[in-house]
C-alpha cells in the first residue's frame, strides 16, 4: 500500500480523538452561500475563503482574489447623509463633489464605513471570521443535510491558501458529521494538500491547462505543484472530482483536452470529469470592483466545441458531465 494512503487512513482513525479544533482560529471569508446547488452533491452551504495565488484571466470570483478585506465604494448608491465621514476612525473619508472621497493611504480597510452606511454605498469585501462564527452559520443548515450527501463546500479564492483556518473549519465539520468538499485549484504545498485531505470527503479539483507555459500565462503560476498534488491526493485515496473549465482559445485545443483526459484516466479512483463551459457572467463583478475584465477577449462558449472536448475525454475512458 502506498505510504500516503497509510498516512491518510491512520489520520482518519485517530482524528476524532485528537482534533480539538481551535474555534478561535480566524481567517478571511468573503461570502457564505446557502442553498448552493452546484458545488457538490445534494444541498450545500458554500464558504468562500478570500485570497488566491492564481490570477486566472476568466476568474469568476474576482472579489476573492486578494487576501484580506477590501473596501469597495459604490457612489451611485450614496445619498449624501455624511454618516460615514464622522464614523471613519482614520478620518480617511471626505466629502467629494458627488459622493465620498477615500484617502487610500489612510484607509485601513477596517470596514466601519460599510457597517455605518445606510445606503450600502461602502461595501466591505471579506472580513475576518472565527471558526466558531462560521460554524454557527453552517449549523443553521444542518437540517437540509440529514439523510443525504449534502454538506459544506469550501471554495474561494483558494481555500488551501489559508491552510490553518481551513483545517480548523474542516475538523469542526468532522465533529458535526457533515459532508465536506473543498473546491481548489490544487496550488499548494504537498504538505498542505495532505493535511487538508485528512478531513475532506471530496475535492472539486480544477484542471486548467496541461502545458506549464500556457498555464503560467493565463493563471500566473506554474502547474507543476498542481499536477503533483493531484496525483498525490488520488494515490493517497482521496476522492477527487475533476473539473475542466473550458476556456475558448485557451485550453480547448484537441491536444490539451487529450492530455487532460489521459492524465485523469491514469489517476486511481478517478473515473470522470466535469466540463464547465465558459460564461462571461463575472463581467459585472469586475466593473463593480473598478477593474478591467481580463477575459474580455475570450469568445463565448461554442456548444459544438464543448461536445468535441467531451468526446475526446470520453475516448480516454472517462465519464463526462457537462456543467456539474
Amino acid at each position: 500500500m502506498h505510504l500516503h494512503k497509510l498516512l491518510l487512513e491512520e489520520a482518519n482513525n485517530i482524528h476524532y480523538q485528537i482534533l480539538m479544533p481551535s474555534t478561535n482560529t480566524s481567517g478571511t471569508i468573503f461570502a457564505i452561500k446557502r442553498y448552493a446547488l452546484h458545488d457538490g452533491p445534494d444541498l450545500r452551504v458554500t464558504v468562500f475563503l478570500k485570497g488566491c495565488p492564481l490570477s486566472c484571466l476568466w476568474c469568476h470570483n474576482p472579489e476573492g482574489m486578494r487576501p484580506g478585506t477590501q473596501i469597495l465604494s459604490l457612489p451611485d448608491r450614496c445619498v449624501g447623509c455624511g454618516e460615514c465621514l464622522t464614523a471613519c476612525p482614520q478620518g480617511a473619508l471626505s466629502a467629494g463633489p458627488a459622493s465620498v472621497r477615500r484617502d487610500a493611504g489612510a484607509c485601513t480597510a477596517c470596514g466601519t464605513c460599510a457597517e455605518t452606511c445606510p445606503a450600502l454605498a461602502h461595501e466591505a469585501l471579506g472580513r475576518s471570521w472565527t471558526v466558531a462564527e462560521v460554524m454557527a452559520e453552517i449549523e443553521k443548515e444542518l437540517p437540509f443535510f440529514e439523510g443525504s450527501q449534502g454538506g459544506v463546500t469550501f471554495s474561494g479564492g483558494e481555500p488551501l491558501a489559508q491552510p490553518d483556518f481551513l483545517e480548523a473549519l474542516l475538523a469542526a465539520c468532522v465533529r458535526l458529521g457533515v459532508h465536506r468538499a473543498v473546491d481548489t485549484s490544487g496550488f499548494a504545498t504537498a504538505e498542505t494538500a495532505l493535511r487538508i485531505a485528512r478531513h475532506t470527503d471530496l475535492f472539486l479539483f480544477d484542471l486548467k491547462h496541461m502545458d506549464p507555459a500556457a498555464h503560467r500565462r493565463a493563471t500566473g503560476v506554474d502547474n507543476a505543484p498542481i499536477l503533483a498534488n493531484l496525483r498525490l491526493l488520488a494515490e493517497a485515496g482521496a476522492r477527487v472530482q475533476l473539473r475542466l473549465p473550458l476556456i475558448p482559445g485557451f485550453n480547448d485545443g484537441d491536444e490539451n483536452i487529450r492530455q487532460t483526459g489521459l492524465l485523469a484516466a491514469s489517476l486511481p479512483g478517478v473515473h470522470g470529469i466535469d466540463v464547465l463551459p465558459y460564461h462571461a457572467t463575472a463581467k459585472g463583478k469586475y466593473a463593480k470592483l473598478g477593474l478591467p475584465y481580463p477575459g474580455a477577449d475570450i469568445p463565448a462558449a461554442d456548444p459544438q466545441q464543448t461536445e468535441r472536448a467531451a468526446e475526446i475525454l470520453r475516448n480516454c475512458g472517462l465519464t463526462v458531465r457537462i456543467g456539474g
Partner: protein, 786 residues
Amino acid sequence: MNDRIDRLRRESFETEPSISIERALLETAFYRENYGKHSLPVLRALVFKDLCEKKTLWLGDGELIVGERGPRPKCVPTFPELTCHSAEDLRVLNSRPMTRYHVSEEDIAAYEREVIPYWTGRSMRDRVFSQVPDEWRAAYESGLFTEFMEQRAPGHTALDGTIYSTGMLDFKTRIADRLARLDYLHDPLASDRAEQLRAMDIACDAAIVFAERHADLAWDKAKTEADPVRKAELTRIAEVCRRVPAHAPRNFWEALQMYWFVHLGTITELNGWDAMTPGHLDQHLAPFYERGLADGTLTREKAKELLCCLWIKVNNHPAPPKVGVTAKESGTYNDFTNINLGGLRRDGSDGVSDVSYLILEVVDELRLLQPQTSVHVSQKTPDAFLKAAARVIKNGYGYPSVFNTDAVVMEQIRVGKTVEDAREGGCSGCIETGAFGKEAYILTGYLNVPKVLELALNDGRDQLTGRQIGPNTGDPLAFANFDDLYGAFTRQLEWVVDLKVRVNNYIERMYAAHSPAPFLSTVIHDCIENGLDYYNGGPRYNTNYIQCCGIGTVTDSLSAIKTHVFDTAAVPMDRLLSSLRANFDGAEALRLKLWNKTPFFGNDDDRADDIMRRVYDSLFTAIDGRPNTKGTAYHLNMLSTTCHVYFGKMLGASANGRLAHLPESDGTSPSHGADRNGPTAVVKSLSKMDQIKSGGTLLNQRFLPDVLKSDQDLDKLCRLIRTYFRLNGHHIQFNVVDTETLRHAQANPDEYRNLLVRVAGYSDYFVDLDLDHQEEIIRRTEQEMA
C-alpha cells in the same frame, strides 16, 4: 390531449365571462310570491328547487360531463339575496379593463326594474351593514380588517367520500329516519329540526330533478344526432344522469358526474366562499378506476379524458364578481376549488394511487386556471410522487402547491378532531385546514396586523387619516423600552379581535337564521343527524378562522424599532414617527438605515425570528379558543390571499422602511426583498413559527427556471420541501418564472394570455392581474443562484 379535450379546453379558455340575471329574476319572483309562507330553511330549499326546475340548461358539443351553473359556460349568475349589484356595479363590470364580465344594457335595465328594488334593504349585505356599530365601521373603513360575509356566504366546503356511496335517495331515507326520531316531548328545537330536515329532503329532490332534466336533454339530442359515436355518448350521458345523483355511482364516469352535480348544487344554492372542492379526488376515484380497468369497462385514456372534462367544467365557472367598492379593483375571482392529491387515507395508509399520477398529467397538459391542484406529502408519500409533482411545478404555472399532511393532521388533532377525520381532511381554498365532509370551517376575514402596530405607534389613530380608530394606548414618546411599545401593540390587538369577533358572531347568526343552505347541509356530516344547518352548527366540527396578514412586515417593523430606537438609540422615536407620517419624505437615509441595517424575518436570524414568534404567540393568544356561535371556537389562520395588497394600500409608511401604500408581506412569507439568504434560510425562519397551532400558513417562493433545470435540481427542490415539512412547515408553493418574462408579459399581454403565476393560495393569469399585483409578483424575492 385528444381533439375533444383540445376543443373544449379552448372554448373554456377563450369564452369571456358574462353575467346571467336569470337566477336573480327567478329567485326574486319566487321570494315576492312565497316569502312568509314557509320557514326559512324550507323557503331556501324551495327556491333551490325552483331554480333546478326552471334554469336554462346547457349541453355543449362533445361534452361528457354535463351541467353549468349559468345558461352557458362562463356565464355567472348573481345572488341578490346575499349582495345585490347596483346598476353602476354592473356597468363597471361590463367596462373595466381587467376581467370584464359582459352584461347587456337590457339586462341592467331589467335588473334595475325587477331585482334591485326588491333586495334593497333585504340583502344580507344591507342588513349586516345597517346593524354594525360605528366603532366597527371606522375600523373597517381604515383597512384594519375585512369581513367575508358582506359579499358571499360562509363557505369553505370540501367533501369526503360519502357521495360516492350514497345517492340522494339514500340521503332522503336518512332524513326520513331522523324526522321519525325527533323528540317533540323533550327537545325544544325539535320543530326547528323538522323544518331543516324537510328542507334537506326538498333539496335532494331538487338535485334529482336537475339531473333528470339533463338526462331528458341528452336523450332528445341523441334522438336527432346523426353521428353514431356522439349519439352513443349522448345516450350514455342520459343513462348517467338518470343514475346520479339519485343513486350512488357505479363506475368512474358516474362518479365524476355525481361529484359535478353536487358541486353545481352547492354553488347554485348559494355563493359561498371557496365554494366547493371534492377534496381527495384521487382517493375517491381510485376504487372506480381500478374496478373499471379490471373488468375492462375503462381504459387509462378514457379515465383521463373524463377527468379532463371535469377539469374544464370547473374552469367554466368563474365566481360571481363582487359588488360595491371592490368591483373596480378586484380582478379575477374564482371558487378556489383546490383538489388534494396524495396525502393519507382514513386508515393512515398512503393515499397515492395511479389516479394521483393521472391527475398530475391532466393538470400539466390542461394548464387551466381552475381547479387548483395541491399535492399532500406525508412521511409515507413516495419520493417518486413528490418528484412527479416537482416536474409539474418546474413548468411554472404556479401549481401544484405542496402541503405537509403530517402537520395538517396534527393541526386538526390539536383542536379535537379524531385522527381518522383529520386524515380524511386536508386543505381547501388556499391553505385552510379542515376535516373534509365533516366541518364548516369559516373564514371570517383578514386582519391587518401591521395596521395594529400603526395604531400602537399613533395612540390609536390612523396614521393616514388621523382619525381615532382604536383605544388610547399611550403616547409612544413616553415608551421607555421595547416592551412598553409591545404592550400597546397587544392592547390594540385585543381590542380589534374583540370588535371583529363581536360583529362576526352577529353576522353568523344572521346567516343561520336567514340564509340556511339545506342542500350543502345534506352532504356534510352530521347535519342530518343534528337536524341543523351547515350555518347553524350542524356539521360534526365547526371552526371560525381569522386570517392574519403581514407577519413579515410587522416583525421587520418591530425589529427596526427595537434595533434603532431602543437598542442602539441611534434614531429617536419622535424622528421615526415624524418620518413615518411624512412617508420618509426628506428622510431617505433613515429609510435606508431601517431597510438595510435591521435584522429581518426570513434570514434564519434569531434576532428577527424571535420577534416573529412573539407576535405569532400574541395573535394566537388573542384569537385561539374564543367562543363562536356554535359552541366551538375561533382559531388562527395565517393567510393573506391577495388582501396584503389592499391592506398595504391602507397602511402608512412602516418602520421597516416600506413606503406608504405598498403591499405588505404576503401569507407567512418574508417581506418582499427582506429575505437575502436564500430559500433554506426562509424555510428555517418559517419553521420557528409553531405552525401546528394555526389552521394553515402560506409560504411563497419564486424560483427562476434556471434553478430547476436538471433532474438533480428537482431532487434538491424535493429535499428543500421535505426538510421544511420535517420542521413542521404547513405549505410551500413556487412561482417558476423569470423577471424578463414577466416584464415582457406586462408589455405584451396578448402574447402571455396563459401565463399562470402563483398569486396567493392560487394561481391566476398574470395579465389579468392589476398593475399593483403584477408589480408585487415581480418584486417577490427571486431565489436566484449565481
